[in-house]
């Protein structure tokens, strides 16, 4: 029997044993991406929706031929969208592409330099998508009020950033993440900002339900090894959260008894 009696992560009624979600961007090739996916043990992977390259070699495999939608949960994103309209259109194309698949990652960006979410457009897009029957996992800022509003709209998971997308700066405002967690009744998944394994552990130790990352793995010197590190980091952070950490003290507290010394 395992010591860890954790429940699975449940998103839109589907159980996931892994609390790590990875991306498919910035990898050297599909094979490296697949190896990282296997090493990470993630069951969900994000993809982008883009124009077909008309000049493309017909024999070249496409991403979904290498990373199978039968084996993994494909999470189409709306990366690159700056308006609710573009994001909704992208989700509808994704649903068609994936035979009616309803789970999407909504992100509506506000600015190319920060890639910070445009919260007003995100809220508008979330309303439309939920009404249209999508299961929306939504990327947002770490504002607790906005996170709650997105949950009220009916998003199936709220995904605040830890730091800007691709920055690798870690969880910059753990106190906001804690406030979001305190009020949440849907999974809270830190999306963006993780740079290395300890960042993922910190997110999980705070009590997050999962972590989504792309660049931290894809841009590591050895992406497959980093994927393995992230698997362990998410698991150990989760176990530490469930175990309940000791309180922080300003001064020392001896680990060996004072009684019985012979000197």
């Amino acid at each position: 029997m395992s010591l860890n009696q954790d429940k699975p992560l449940v998103v839109a009624g589907v159980e996931y044993q892994s609390r790590l979600i990875i991306g498919s961007g910035k990898y050297k090739d599909f094979e490296e991406n697949l190896s990282a996916l296997e090493a990470s043990a993630a069951e969900m992977i994000t993809v982008a929706i883009r124009r077909v390259n008309l000049g493309q070699n017909k024999d070249e495999p496409s991403l979904l031929e290498v990373i199978s939608p039968e084996r993994y949960t494909i999470l189409p994103n709306t990366a690159g969208c700056y308006t609710a309209e573009d994001a909704v259109r992208t989700c509808r194309m994704a649903r068609e592409l994936l035979d009616g698949h309803k789970l999407v990652k909504l992100e509506v960006l506000g600015d190319q330099k920060t890639l910070y979410p445009n919260v007003t457009e995100t809220l508008a897009a979330a309303e439309i998508l939920v009404a249209d029957g999508f299961d929306v996992m939504v990327y947002t800022s770490d504002d607790p009020l906005v996170a709650k509003r997105l949950e009220e709209i009916g998003c199936v998971a709220v995904m605040p950033l830890g730091a800007p997308i691709g920055s690798g700066l870690g969880i910059r405002n753990p106190y906001n993440i804690r406030m979001i967690l305190e009020n949440a009744s849907v999974p809270i998944i830190v999306d963006a900002g993780v740079g290395t394994a300890s960042d993922a552990s910190i997110a999980m130790e705070l009590g997050c339900d999962g972590v989504l990352m792309n660049t931290a793995i894809a841009e590591a010197q050895n992406p497959v090894l980093m994927a393995s590190a992230m698997k362990k980091a998410v698991e150990s952070g989760r176990e530490a959260f469930l175990a309940g950490r000791m309180p922080r003290r300003l001064y020392a507290s001896a680990s060996s008894p004072i009684d019985g010394t012979f000197f």
């Binding site: 910035k26 883009r50 189409p76 259109r89 194309m93 592409l97 660049t215």
Partner: protein
């Protein structure tokens, strides 16, 4: 008669009277997972053969690629 249509932002000339399925054949895009919009409206896969392509149609053909 030829017609001019836009496919993924680029102008293409084709003989008139073609279906979306014919167009996808002409572009060698019949394999693999794609989704298609004609003038902003998604055309379900089951309608590819029935969907007529007309002069000045704007067609978008997308696929899933790597992204975070």
């Amino acid at each position: 008669m030829t017609m001019e249509i836009s496919v993924n932002g680029k102008q293409h000339k084709f003989e008139q009277d073609m279906s979306l399925m014919d167009l996808l054949h002409a572009l060698a895009l019949t394999e693999g997972r794609i989704a298609v919009e004609v003038n902003g409206e998604i055309v379900p896969r089951s309608q590819f053969a029935a969907q007529q392509i007309n002069h000045q149609d704007k067609i978008e053909i997308v696929q899933a690629i790597g992204g975070g």
